[in-house]
Amino acid sequence: MKLALGPTLYYWPREKLRAYYENIAAAPVDIVYLGETVCSRRHVMRLPDWLEVARMLAAAGKEVVLSTLALIESESDLKSLRKITENGDFAVEANDMGAVHLLANRIPFVAGPYLNIYNPQTLAMIASLGAKRWVMPVEMSNEALQPLQQSRPVEMETEVFSYGRLPLAFSSRCYTARFHNLPKDDCRFLCINDPDGKTMHTREGKPFLAINGIQTQSAQVYNLIGDLESLQRTGVDVVRISPQSEHSGEIIRLFRDSIDQKLGRKSAMQQIDKLFPEAGCNGYWHGRPGMEQTLLASAIQHE
């Protein structure tokens, strides 16, 4: 299985982003997705800046894919989108049907996790338009994935979101601005102060969700490092790790060593647990509520 680093979902300062990706150049990931997928107002990195990072990573031997916004509302959003789809050098991950429209039958693309591909017929349709890889919706289970694996078009690769706070929902409303009592149009880009989002607790103090601008994430970290064997059995080609502000290098290494069978499952789960901003979960993969954790390192006896 190949290892991919998904697009950074948070708004980090330019220097941090650049330093982050310089480290990634030396990290054992095969594929890196770049670009802003959450909010069109975020601007510390423009397309030329992303392209510079893309070239640096490509020179380091990474496959680079440019990701597009999940919520495209205005003409100016579309203008930015067209610049990405027409970049000429790098493949594109389409996160909206508008992006698919611009790429279909012209340029091979990756069908992103927000396109709602849930059945073999839809996967075949999206393949016929030129998709070479698809990212499974986060809420899909191993069981629901299997029929798509059995009937998928030749050469179609399957990628599964396997580590990070889950991107659960998009709104046009900005919850970070709402928290600060600011209108979205005058948000002052305060999400830059939340490098892993802002945790939303229930009224009895349990971490539940996380605010990341217009995106709502899980507070818990989705983590399939204990499930890699079943991902492999189901024929998943690419395992996606979502960037977090700290420890990405170690997380990538633990996944890499687990995939290469240099590291046992129990040991990997115990080591990665320490690197989370919150507790872990893996319910979706097991057909359960996403927030559940169905397998604990402590329950594994013989590894």
Binding site: S74, L81, G98, M125, E139, A144, A169, E204, K206, G290
Partner: protein, 349 residues
């Protein structure tokens, strides 16, 4: 692309344009009162997870659907069938049969979100009109034109996230008819792009046609107040003096950095009566009322008010104003007793 709809109201005199009132019906009695109170179109769903209001005791079996279509057609009203969830492989045959049944029942359109289903419908029942569901998350004209180019969709229902200026901009760049939510419950998330419900309960609008399903809800009186929980997660807690609301996940009160508030959205209803002249000006084709899960009394009340308002507005768009009686009547049936223009009014965002 040229501007397809030049500004002004001159087109109102053209017989081919009409703003249609599209009303919800979760039962045959609701369908009948919608038709009787002036709906131009009624939308319904079958009694299972093929549609996004999959609630116990709600919706239509084949016999009721047939009776509903007959009743509506006799009074010149069209019927749309919502088949707007995304089937997984195990459900494919059932969803496919639902499309066949829609065609057989003489539905005037099916409201779809899934690409595979659209392709099936287009190939198997070319005469069946396709509407893109709000669950299809099409928020820009490139997306809408994608569905038009590949499946010949006739109409698109827009997610409740666009500002009015964005709707207007979009309306100029597509030949697809647009349908907008005008009244009822308000989804604060982009429809079709929300997995909050499955994160907490395992069931989502996309796959199961439910959000925050009743079977996961528990109410409990505690020394701290009345608590509502969803699969164990505390959604809200009420003092004796507060009005309680259904624990829809995004409408709960949560704590962010020590502050307790409606972190996502207050329990409130969408109401766009005052936008009617503008909706006519940009040639919106469908004005959709939310609420298939609501009673026939709700449907009757809302249909009556909107029928009157639309008729008034068409007669004299510049002179249109919202009558206090309309607002009062709609207020009686609103969720949370509060109204908002939602995303159509930009500061809401």
């Amino acid at each position: 692309m040229p501007n397809l709809h030049p500004p002004g109201y001159a087109f109102l005199k053209q017989p081919e344009y009409k703003l249609e009132l599209v009303c919800p019906a979760g039962s045959l009695p609701a369908l009948k009162v919608a038709v009787d109170n002036g709906a131009d179109c009624v939308y319904i769903g079958f009694r299972d997870d093929t549609n996004a209001r999959n609630f116990t005791g709600l919706n239509f079996d084949a016999a009721n659907a047939r009776a509903g279509v007959a009743y509506a057609h006799a009074k010149n009203t069209r019927v749309f069938l919502a088949l707007n969830t995304y089937p997984r492989a195990a459900g494919w045959v059932r969803w496919k049969k639902a499309i066949d049944q829609a065609a057989e029942l003489g539905m005037d359109a099916v409201i779809l979100a899934d690409l595979g289903l659209m392709q099936y419908a287009m190939k198997t029942h070319p005469q069946l009109q396709l509407h893109l569901s709000v669950q299809g998350s099409a928020t820009n004209y490139e997306a809408i034109n994608f569905y038009h180019e590949h499946f010949g969709i006739h109409r698109a229902v827009l997610p409740r996230v666009l500002s009015f200026a964005q709707v207007e901009e979009l309306s100029c760049k597509t030949r697809v008819e647009l349908e907008l939510f005008g009244f009822g419950g308000l989804c604060v998330m982009v429809e079709g792009r929300c997995s909050l419900s499955s994160y907490a309960t395992g069931e989502s609008p996309n796959n199961c046609g439910v959000c925050s399903p009743p079977k996961a809800v528990r109410w409990q009186q505690t020394p701290d107040g009345l608590e509502s929980r969803l699969n164990g997660v505390l959604i809200d807690r009420y003092t004796d003096k507060e009005n309680t609301g259904y624990p829809t996940l995004c409408k709960g009160r949560f704590v962010v950095e020590g502050e307790t508030y409606y972190a996502m959205e207050e329990p409130t209803s969408l109401n766009t009566l005052e936008l009617l002249p503008e909706l006519l000006r940009i040639k919106v084709r469908g004005l959709k009322i939310e609420g298939r899960q609501r009673s026939p009394a709700y449907v009757a009340q809302v249909a009556r008010v909107w029928r009157e308002a639309i008729d008034q507005c068409v007669k004299d768009p510049p002179g249109f104003s919202v009558r206090p009686a309309w607002a009062a009547d709609l207020g009686k049936v609103s969720e949370g007793q509060q109204h908002t223009l939602g995303a159509y009014h930009r500061p809401w965002k």
